[in-house]
């Protein structure tokens, strides 16, 4: 690379010059570690799943029990992410725009689903929402059975998705310049109109990102769901649980095919989220 006379344009450069040392060590170590822990295992899953014939893959993925689990996992995740989109916006708005007693505490508590082990959230939710639990006993007489139904699955997925929406919306809400709001209002817009036409468009990409992150996490979630779901075949079995059941029956093929299906979906979601984040950066005109 140090050839003096070589024309610069034709030269392939893997990296720009820098006076700082340590590129080889840190880059090499990162790459090897990434390959060993993440890439090779994921490649193994892909190869294992694609080792089956197309007919086999189709047969596994279209079993009624698997289809029912897809319906539940995607339906409940979509619903949970939507609930989070609404209430997460209210929460992020309250936390960034208002002053009220306990605001700091509430702000810190939003991260609880990140910090709390999912199994603990799971048994806690199952207890609280069961027929004689603290919240369940008020809902049961009204005809809402939560624990051991799809509603319970949705509640658990809402819990674990909440921080994603709030945490992506907060910086976006703070980044809206006060001047544009002032301008809108001085031109006669009502508060709600300003919110709808000025603030909401500015935070829309962040909102969508939060929704996609919450949805992606919910689809793969396992620990917090299985305790409250009841796990009835065809009714309240989520897709990750089917992978576990297949493994327990030593059906590695089914486990890897279903797992690969979920992996493909995660890839597309990751791609979507990256696009949404690029959109957010363009809109807010600054880097994270």
């Amino acid at each position: 690379m140090a050839s003096i006379a070589a024309p610069r344009i034709a030269e392939f450069r893997f990296r720009e010059d820098s006076i700082l040392p340590g590129f080889g060590l840190t880059f090499g170590f990162s790459l090897v570690y990434l390959a060993l822990i993440v890439l090779i295992p994921l490649a193994a899953l892909t190869l294992h799943a694609l080792g089956a014939s197309f007919a086999d893959i189709w047969r596994i993925l279209t079993q009624p029990r698997v289809l029912a689990s897809f319906r539940l996992s995607f339906g409940a995740s979509l619903l949970a992410a939507s609930i989070n989109a609404v209430f997460g916006l209210l929460l992020a708005w309250s936390l960034t725009r208002y002053e009220f007693p306990g605001r700091r505490l509430l702000d810190a508590l939003v991260d609880l689903p990140f910090a709390m082990p999912t199994a603990v959230s799971g048994i806690a939710l199952a207890t609280v929402f069961s027929g004689n639990g603290w919240i369940g006993r008020w809902l049961e007489p009204l005809g809402f059975k939560v624990a051991y139904t799809w509603v319970g699955v949705t509640v658990a997925l809402t819990l674990i998705g909440l921080p994603f929406v709030v945490r992506t919306l907060q910086p976006a809400l703070l980044a809206v310049p006060p001047e544009v709001e002032d301008a809108a209002e001085s031109l006669g817009a009502s508060r709600f109109y300003t919110f709808r036409r000025v603030i909401l468009p500015a935070v829309l990409p962040a909102w969508a990102t939060g929704f996609a992150l919450a949805f992606g996490r919910a689809v793969g979630e396992y620990g917090s769901v299985i305790f409250i779901a009841g796990n009835l075949p065809m009714k309240t079995e989520i897709t990750p649980l089917l992978i576990v059941i297949s493994l327990e029956q030593y059906d590695y093929r089914a486990a890897s095919v279903i797992g690969f299906g979920m992996l493909v979906i995660s890839f597309f979601l990751l791609l979507l989220i990256n696009l949404l984040q690029a959109w957010q950066r363009r809109r807010s005109g600054r880097r994270r």
């Binding site: 822990i37 708005w93 082990p117």
Partner: protein, 284 residues
């Protein structure tokens, strides 16, 4: 997270009764939602653990299986967190300090484990090292057990907590810039001296921040570990798995007692995290 100055209260018209009412309604709905979903389950953990009094609560920690679960969780975290911290610092240094091709791909790949279901994070290692896995026969011949043993639990936990430190440090190092390191090098400091005396002190809050989040997840991971552990009581059950076993045996006081320890860990994590944010002004 966001501290900032609350903006609504000094807007014109913020003191009319309509604005006050609207504000109160929004805060009430948001707080009630958070309370039902976050606070009530948290309180339920402690209430259930203490349902039969303090004596029963402390008795729950007397069993040798519980001791073994706590020990296994601590061992796992002690191995996983340092490894992923070293990786996080190395990856952040390479990505934030140098310009090279495929950088954005590398950044995305590092975040990949977050996008993958925990169950899949365990499954991949079963497919590699399980009895029917690629290396299954070879491992059996050499009498090495990975799946249903400590190495499998460590690998699965490494996978799920992989991005925690790196994704804190990459943006942090990018924001902080390389001028001080360049100055140190041009003044004759060696690479290691520059790293330990310049780079590391600059990012220490970010490192601690990433480490406590990584640790919380490492100690609390359930799905991935559940797939590779085999649930052998007293041998391959971490604390979250032990909670599951006790809960399924209807030993609610025992299950919630162990769960209360994990909840205290989660609360401690949040307290340290908030303290770092307040003290250093660091936040992601």
């Amino acid at each position: 997270m966001a501290v900032g100055k609350p903006r609504e209260i000094d807007r014109p018209g913020a003191h009319t009764w309509r604005a006050r009412l609207g504000r109160a309604a929004i805060i009430a709905v948001a707080t009630a939602f958070a309370a039902c979903l976050l606070v009530v389950p948290l309180c339920a953990v402690f209430a259930q653990a203490l349902a039969k009094g303090w004596e029963a609560y402390f008795e729950a920690f007397g069993s040798s299986d519980t001791h073994a679960a706590i020990r296994l969780t601590l061992i796992t975290a002690l191995i996983v967190v340092p490894l992923n911290t070293i990786f996080g610092i190395a990856a952040a240094y390479a990505i934030a300090r140098f310009e090279f091709r495929g950088k954005s791909v590398l950044t995305t790949l590092i975040e990949l484990p977050f996008a993958v279901s925990p169950v899949i994070s365990g499954l991949v290692y079963v497919l590699l090292f399980g009895a029917q896995g690629w290396f299954g026969v070879w491992l059996q011949e050499h009498d090495i057990s990975i799946v249903f043993a400590l190495p499998g639990i460590i690998l699965a936990t490494l996978f799920v907590t992989f991005p925690y430190v790196a994704r804190e440090l990459i943006p942090l190092l990018q924001i902080l810039g390389a001028e001080e390191e360049e100055a140190a090098i041009s003044l004759g400091a060696g690479p290691w001296m520059t790293f330990f005396r310049v780079t590391l002190p600059k990012i220490r809050w970010g490192v601690i921040y990433g480490v406590i989040l990584c640790n919380a997840r490492a100690m609390g991971e359930f799905g991935a570990v559940s797939v590779v552990s085999g649930h052998i009581r007293g041998l391959t059950t971490t604390m979250p798995l032990h909670v599951e076993i006790l809960y399924n045996e209807y030993d609610f006081v025992g299950a919630f007692a162990v769960a209360s320890l994990l909840s205290l860990l989660a609360l401690l994590t949040l307290v340290i995290k908030t303290a770092i944010e307040l003290r250093s002004g660091y936040r992601r």
